[in-house]
Symmetry: C2
Subunit: 237 residues, 2 copies
């Protein structure tokens, strides 16, 4: 928690915040080992960041006196991610990684090689997803929550919604064996599409190319989805 | 296991291999759902890779008939990694990530903010480290085992051994607040130095710069070590 992310409801007035939930209190106690008087970085969800002083930390919660919260959060990465739904534990970690890297729109997509049982995972509840996004934001000192969409049907998503998006954004399909090496340091908006462990099937590759994606690869090494997503975003960003 | 990594002892002659250890047999049965006649990718530790046909899979083990193993493994990344020893679970995952990305020399270093208890972790046994390296190689279809060194004393390592290495390699210290942005697509050998969660202390930063490192950063977002290492290697590689 490099930033304490405040919900607007945590603000008692313009200069005071009151944190009550057990997770943040435990983190303040056990990781920050915070004591009254300590200065910490805080930010309001969707808003700006700044410094605050811990006034009290007891069974009543943590109370902060805030300086002007007048710094902008770090710039977002203008790369949207379309990711074949990973297995639950990898999903949890990947949501944190890509949120920390600054992605603001994440689409979780069903594909042939996604196990159907993954869609029943408790990790896909709105609450669990929100928790992982918060962890990613707190890590990177960001306040702007990514939007996460679940797309359980490949064809209508790719043919309609993705194809429409790609009229104004560059589409990049990361898939082993594609012709172009992953570009470096994009300067225009893009949508990155990453398949499941085992990859997209040929029909899916064709549909994604037909929807306007350009095929790219990261070399001859086959990476786990979790590793590949970070490596691709780092090279593109 | 995108490649079945054979120990030279697994070869019964130039054209036959016999795999007997429970981990690989379970993987062949449960993940590959392999049946006699299936073609799989195999490679000899430290050597070349190729295709083989599963001849039998039973309580006796898995027997393969090998075609010529005549393909070179993927090119190594000419970036050595010096990493402050992470907590055990993150160490395990990071060893797999960086091995899959092609790093061939990994130095795990003690620094002020590394918890001393991490050095007692069973994850640091030679056997456990070897297991994670094998998983990374199998993932990336590589056969060349990275070398892992443990350096429990910061000062003599940095002042002597690192400074000597940096006479022939570019040293890059990744640390928030450094002046230069992380370079892209290095074309010469480099050694990348990454700190612990919480970062290097000022004395350590000074010692690393004095040993010949250039300070670099990945932007204003603070990333977990696990994420940062992958992002740095992807951008440098």
């Amino acid at each position: 928690m490099n930033l304490i992310l405040l919900d607007p409801a945590d603000l008692t007035d313009d200069h005071h915040a009151w944190v009550r939930d057990p997770r943040r209190l435990r983190h303040l106690r056990e990781v920050h080992r915070a004591r009254p008087g300590d200065e910490l970085t805080l930010g309001v969800s969707g808003g700006s960041i700044g410094r605050g002083r811990l006034v009290s930390l007891d069974e009543d919660g943590a109370r902060f006196a805030l300086d002007a919260l007048d710094q902008a959060p770090p710039a977002a990465l203008d790369i949207e991610l379309v990711l074949a739904l990973p297995r639950p534990r990898m999903l949890a970690r990947s949501l944190e990684h890509v949120t920390a890297l600054g992605v603001k729109r994440i689409t979780l997509l069903h594909t042939r090689r996604v196990e159907k049982s993954y869609w029943q995972s408790p990790e896909l509840s709105a609450e669990k997803i929100h928790q992982h996004l918060v962890l990613g934001l707190e890590q990177a000192r960001d306040t702007v929550m990514p939007e996460v969409e679940l797309e359980t049907h490949f064809k209508p998503f790719v043919e309609d919604r993705l194809a429409t998006r790609l009229k104004v954004r560059r589409g990049l399909l990361a898939h082993p064996g594609m012709q172009a090496a992953c570009p470096r340091g994009l300067t225009s908006p893009a949508t990155l599409v990453v398949g499941p462990e085992g990859g997209f099937i040929p029909y899916e590759v064709e549909a994604l190319l037909a929807a306007g994606c350009q095929g790219i690869h990261l070399g001859s090494r086959i990476l786990r989805v979790e590793t590949a997503v970070i490596a691709l975003l780092a090279r593109l960003g």
